[in-house]
């Protein structure tokens, strides 16, 4: 374990911020360019994960465990969100026979 701890000594906080921003931007791009509802949900998971990692990095940086507890709550929330979201997707698929997000455009009214 001491070896692993030595591994992270050399990584500045900046690089964690940049890395997590890149993953978050990839998630946003995924939401924008795909039309499959399931892949949009997966992109949202990607965004949540990047934020989680940044919270954990700040928590390790400050030496404050509250950040990691918060990550735990975000994970519980993500699990609930995925369960309800996928149930809604299944319901939509039963009614429209397609996973295209455009098939929901009737909701615009």
């Amino acid at each position: 374990m001491g070896n692993i701890v030595e591994q992270i000594q050399g990584v500045p906080l900046n690089h964690y911020i940049i890395f997590c921003s890149i993953i978050f931007a990839i998630g946003v791009t995924g939401v924008l360019i795909r039309r499959n509802v399931i892949i949009i949900m997966m992109s949202i998971e990607l965004m949540l994960n990047s934020v989680n990692l940044l919270l954990a990095a700040f928590s390790a940086y400050r030496g404050d465990p509250s950040g990691q507890v918060f990550v735990f709550f975000v994970m519980a929330l993500a699990a609930a969100e995925v369960a309800v979201g996928l149930a809604i997707i299944i319901m939509v698929y039963r009614n429209t026979k397609s996973l295209d997000i455009e098939s929901l455009s009737k909701l615009r009214w």
Binding site: Y61, G63, A83
Partner: protein
Amino acid sequence: MSVFYLVAFLAIFFALMTIFTKNPVHSVLYLVITFFTLTVHYILLNAQFLAVVNFIVYMGAIIVLFLFVMMLLNLNEEAEPVKSNLVKIMGAIAGMCLLATLLGAFRVIEPSNEMVAAHADIGLVENLGKVLFNEFLLPFEISSILLLAAMIGAVLLAKKDVKKA
């Protein structure tokens, strides 16, 4: 130190593959690898509890849920809806703009360039448990209500409507 950059590169690569692959099942599998690289990041941060929870909840529960839904809906590549190229290019440009904005903002505020210090023991299960059950006991209990509500909601939503059928 170099392990971080290698794993970060892999995470970015597989995240890109996730959103650019045509086949949704391949997309889910790339997402598994992305989550695994993030688990490695947690281990590098010495957040062992989060690493284990990430492994179990994300790679175990959430990904299996995605795969089950894909199996249930019987997707294949032909059923995949495709956006027009113009919208794709505009989406990619918008994502890059967001990234540029974020990075520019971070450059202006100049977050400290110090190394992430290894507080060796805050991520261990024992210490997190102490914090979780002292300061965060009420949110912890409330999150159980949230999970219960989500479970009931998912069952109610996904159930076939008996009266209509």
